[in-house]
Symmetry: C2
Subunit: 267 residues, 2 copies
DNA sequence: CAGTGGTCTAGACCACTGG
DNA sequence: CAGTGGTCTAGACCACTGC
């Protein structure tokens, strides 16, 4: 406990990626130890060393594995938990986040009923309208980092709350990672689509960007949502990403906002 | 440095508010020291001990003042920084967040141009259409935690980007804290409205909730935004809060989304 | 009861800022 | 150069979970 300022062994806090080209970052930035630990944990997550819902090793174990102190591992996990990749549970352990849990059912769905709490209308009814193979158009290809004409899966579905069709979604997925996805498997699965992606295709959606506009109901969408032609709908274009910021889904949603609204918190 | 497990002096980590009724929380929860420190700092912020943009005392000074270790102060400040109430600047100090800074000009405005970066169209043109005293209707009163008929200020303004009217906003403010606010003072002020609130009325907006819907342009809003009657607009209802979760503003915005979109990140 | 995450301390050193 | 926030360690103890 006296003079032993030696950081540790093996890993040193300076210049983790000297000469690396990985992130596209040109700054010769200094990267603290806990960031490197965070990267190592992230790798294990991406490679599936621990599955969604499972516990990862304890902080002490990880500290031993990486030969750093518990506090350093702790800071790495703190950030991963803040990004919703991990979930800490005191007395139990740290778990890989999943979309298949009750209290995070609607983690990526910001549409809530005007009165009542999210989910108070009972479970959403999910109807698959269509599921087919297609070729990526120019925009779809750009959004999914593919090339025009690459094979994609296209899904159209309607979500209904309390019996009323409320959301129409057109979804594009790169064909390769989702090989074997059919309308049946989608229709038979109870629960969030992203939970199915986790269990069946080992694809975990981690982050998403949404562009929101007001648009008139056209092109047959008025039929599926049972609104008048030209009625205003909330258009929500989402690109969802997996761990390494790889886009894995393009989704164009059309929300009725006469009984629901999109809720957002600014801080 | 040997056996001195005594936590500190004065403040103890257990039962900060035993018997308190404040938060509506019935749990006799244990509150860690750093949370109490956070509360003390929050009080100083609310009372204006340090003004927006100013530096707060260094971590060492605060640790001495509260008689805790630097690490404990650090954790408190970490959370306040994560909530955007404070801003850390390495080598310089920790500063009270403000809406008057270049890089946070649009902290609460999520509407961005379809192409280009936020602000790339140059500064927004702000035109005050109206600013008058009124009485709170039932909804306005509920949103602002007032009683129906209480005096409020009502402001209507149009924001234009690149010369095109893009946002129409109706704003309601409780009259008392904003006594002396006039159309002239609003019109003459360059910069975000929330920055004016900080400097002139000592009101700092800290958090906001938005409800977003798609609505047709009616009631003359089509004139001010120069769109056709019935054209879809993004309706953004915002309630903005100051430090103690006190609502201080109700704002109903109508956004044109033909050249811009509301951008949101999910994680 | 052992094991987990959560809190707190004390001290050392590093990176960044500005005079 | 001194002062700030940022990193890292080591060790103690606390709160929570489940056997």
């Amino acid at each position: 406990m006296s003079a032993t300022p030696v950081p540790s062994a093996g890993i040193t806090p300076t210049n983790p990626d000297s000469g690396s080209i990985a992130g596209g970052q040109l700054t010769p930035a200094f990267s603290p130890l806990y960031q490197q630990i965070k990267g190592l944990i992230l790798n294990s997550l991406r490679l599936g060393e621990w599955k969604p819902g499972e516990a990862i090793p304890s902080e002490m174990e990880l500290a031993a594995r990486f030969r750093v102190s518990q506090g350093t591992v702790r800071k790495a996990i703190d950030e991963l938990a803040a990004e919703n990749l991990l979930v800490r549970r005191q007395g139990k352990g740290t778990f890989v986040a999943t979309h298949a849990e009750q209290h995070v059912q609607f983690r990526f769905l910001k549409l809530v009923p005007d009165s009542g709490t999210p989910g108070s209308e009972g479970p959403a009814q999910r109807d698959i309208v269509e599921c087919r193979r297609a070729r990526a158009s120019a925009d779809v290809a750009r959004a999914l980092a593919l090339r025009t004409g690459d094979p994609v899966l296209q899904v159209r579905r309607v979500l209904s709350f309390a019996g009323s069709p409320t959301i129409l979604e057109d979804i594009w997925l790169p064909a390769a990672p989702f090989k074997g996805l059919t309308a049946e498997r989608l229709a038979n699965y109870q629960g969030p689509m992203y939970a199915l992606f986790e269990t069946e295709f080992n694809v975990r959606m981690v982050r998403a960007e949404e562009k929101i506009r007001a648009e008139p109901a056209t092109d047959g969408r008025e039929m599926l949502l049972k609104v008048e032609h030209g009625a205003p709908l909330l258009s929500v274009e989402r690109i969802a990403y997996t761990y390494k910021d790889v886009p894995m889904e393009l989704r164009r949603g059309y929300y009725r906002t006469d009984t629901h609204h999109y809720h957002n918190t600014l801080s």
